[in-house]
Symmetry: C2
Subunit: 418 residues, 2 copies
């Protein structure tokens, strides 16, 4: 397949800063949210969290979680943290992907000239956020965008991409069928491929959110030092989701040399934790077949992202969580922090709240001083119906379901009024 | 029942300003959000909105709605508006009620002395947001709070109130049973009743959000004039939900003399629009029996709120919407604006988007210049399960449900890919 012909700057913090200057006018500087309840929860040992009232609707601090441990003794680590949520769910098109798309297209236009790019157009394959991101960037620059989507894509996603003026080309569902359709489109139109994550300009674009987060937290702590752990003036760590790895590698690149530690968060359902396993094996895993609810994270890590995240000077590590843990974190983000996010965006908080390896590590490294931890909320593109489906009680009514969410799959109903 | 013994200042803008100074340190100055998609939608005639792609997951402007009109010719009004959402769903305890509770308790403490109040305590009856608000205020001042809740209350709400340190007293479900239990509690403890809405200090406290919104919008427009309609430096109107009327009357009081027009928004299911009908009849309706999904708005208007909202110099009018319209607005707030709110909080946006009487009035009064409209998002205390229940498809799958939400109860499936 035709490689994109644009030049790419080196993968350094300075290049991310330059990318940020380039795309600033096209994207939102999304806000950073905090939530007392989630700070308390994250700083409470899992074994001491109240097991039954996770679905509690109170917004005020209440050290309760929906997690119900089987073996309390193994859940005793107590990291001391304050969380800072980067709300990329409120980014344009509802996800961070707008950053990479605007950067890659901007570079292409600079290299080839706007007239050339307008004549040939751009193309990609995606049924998700990257499709809409590229469609938006292309529309902004008045460039034709050809998006290959599987025929079976969600009608609302097709409509979303269409409403941004993109030309939708339908393909079959297998990757062979898709590749054939893209090749055909490129041959016909001369369009340049803008891949979803495995490209330096995409990586640099996605990394820009880390620069904002870093600065925003410093600014917040000047006026409200109580939002952070005592005495710290900025972030100690950032946790970001990893699917194809464009974002995580961009963030790791952006924060190099700052002393801020970068961690990846991955679902582990049906081997979705290919990056975590790849790091253990010292080798990139190239195929993944998973239907994790974190549907943005079903792809294997790309080649260039892998070269960055497998570099220990850039990434501290990757931690994974179960489907039930993702659901519990998603529920807390919505009900407690009032943040409407897609399941993929809940994975970093799930690691912070429920992965004991991660929590022990933080407890050890951060000590009593504690850490200010940035949590990347990567996107908010889901529907009420899709969320409802995830929380559909298999038996009993909704009330019962409130009391039975657990991270270990076990079920228990407890009437807190009793 | 024992009336609260505290003194109350006159119901004026100056008193709301004074209330704001008193409670500032205890509450959040909640943010004001904007959403391009919803601005475009609100400024598009209902007859010209795309009927099928309301559930579109794109965050970017796409003039589509989930509304499907039966008679296009009657849906042609085109108000020109920019919307400013006051996020009281992110207030402490997840709803504006914290404002009134802190104000009423603060006044009581000033009048009677903290020692007296600590000895006697405070009490109220509520199964919802006011219970948690009073529990929080009482906890903050180390005052005992006795909250009468029906035995059948949602366990999570009971747990939420309990976790704030309140003493829960269970009662039967009828108002007679409840009153008896409160009387008993007051006799035993000497606690002072802090009613949920029918009290001047509650009204003044709830009104404080309007002062913030007014100032915040002015500040936003200085740096980003493009967020508002052309040439305007502040708000033209505010729409707030009305149940008992504490908030709406507080907002009307706060904005008196500013030129900002205040409107009420009410559900009309099973006569829930008692305030709207009362205004038409020129007489307060004292009982309401409705199971509207906007569960915060099931109560009839209180006596003191009525005296304010029935004053035409203070309130412009009240408009009501159907259950399906509330659901459509709720869906848009979550999926497009990424704001997690409870159904009651979606009622003002539903009026803005779907009530043709309201839209025609705005079109006429605002003219081509348009209006900047404040929309009060009163609270976010709901659960994923409760939301899921509202959007449960009666037949077919979730995908089908996405295409069938309508304001008139009619169903139609349209495949936008076809």
């Amino acid at each position: 397949m035709a490689a994109p012909s644009t030049t790419s700057p080196p993968l350094t913090r300075a290049s991310v800063q330059e990318a940020h200057q380039r795309i600033k006018q096209y994207i939102h500087e999304t806000r950073v949210a905090t939530c007392t309840t989630l700070n308390i929860l994250a700083s409470t040992p899992q074994s001491e969290r109240c097991p039954s009232s996770g679905a509690n609707t109170a917004y005020e601090p209440a050290p309760h979680s929906s997690i119900q441990q089987q073996d309390a003794s193994s859940y005793t680590s107590q990291p001391h943290v304050r969380l800072f949520f980067k709300c990329e769910n409120e980014q344009r098109i509802g996800a961070f992907k707008a950053r990479g798309a605007f950067h890659a297209l901007g570079r292409l236009i600079e290299d080839e000239g706007i007239e050339n790019v307008r004549q040939k157009g751009v193309c990609t394959h995606s049924s998700g956020n990257h499709a809409q991101a590229l469609a938006l960037a292309a529309k902004t620059h008045n460039v034709p965008a050809h998006i290959v989507m599987p025929k079976i894509s969600t009608p609302s996603k097709i409509a979303g991409t269409k409403s941004l003026g993109a030309n939708i080309i339908f393909s079959g569902s297998t990757s062979d069928e898709r590749e054939a359709v893209i090749r055909e489109a490129i041959e016909e139109t001369g369009a340049t491929l803008i891949p979803p994550y495995d490209h330096p300009n995409i990586i640099l674009g996605q990394g820009t959110q880390a620069l904002e987060l870093e600065q925003q937290v410093e600014d917040m702590l000047v006026n409200h030092p109580d939002l952070g752990v005592s005495g710290k003036k900025g972030l100690d760590a950032v946790i970001a989701p990893i699917g194809g790895g464009g974002m995580l590698s961009g963030i790791a690149t952006a924060l190099q040399g700052t002393g801020i530690k970068v961690f990846g968060a991955e679902p582990n359902f049906e081997g979705a934790n290919d990056a975590e396993m790849g790091l253990k094996q010292g080798m990139r895993i190239k195929t993944v077949k998973t239907l994790t609810i974190a549907d943005g994270l079903r792809t294997p890590v790309g080649e260039i992202p892998w070269s960055i995240i497998s570099d220990k000077s850039k990434l501290e590590g990757i931690y994974s969580v179960s489907e039930e843990q993702i659901k519990a974190a998603l529920k807390l983000l919505m009900e407690r922090a009032k943040l409407f996010v897609e399941p993929s965006a809940a994975v970093p908080l799930a690691v912070m709240l429920y992965n004991e390896d991660f929590r022990k590590m933080v407890e050890q490294k951060a000590g009593k001083a504690g850490w200010n931890v940035g949590i990347i909320l990567s996107g908010g593109n889901t529907t009420i119906e899709a969320i409802a489906k995830l929380f559909q009680p298999s038996t009993g009514d909704a009330e019962r379901a409130e009391a039975t969410i657990s991270t270990d799959g076990s079920k228990k109903v407890e009437n807190v009024a009793g």
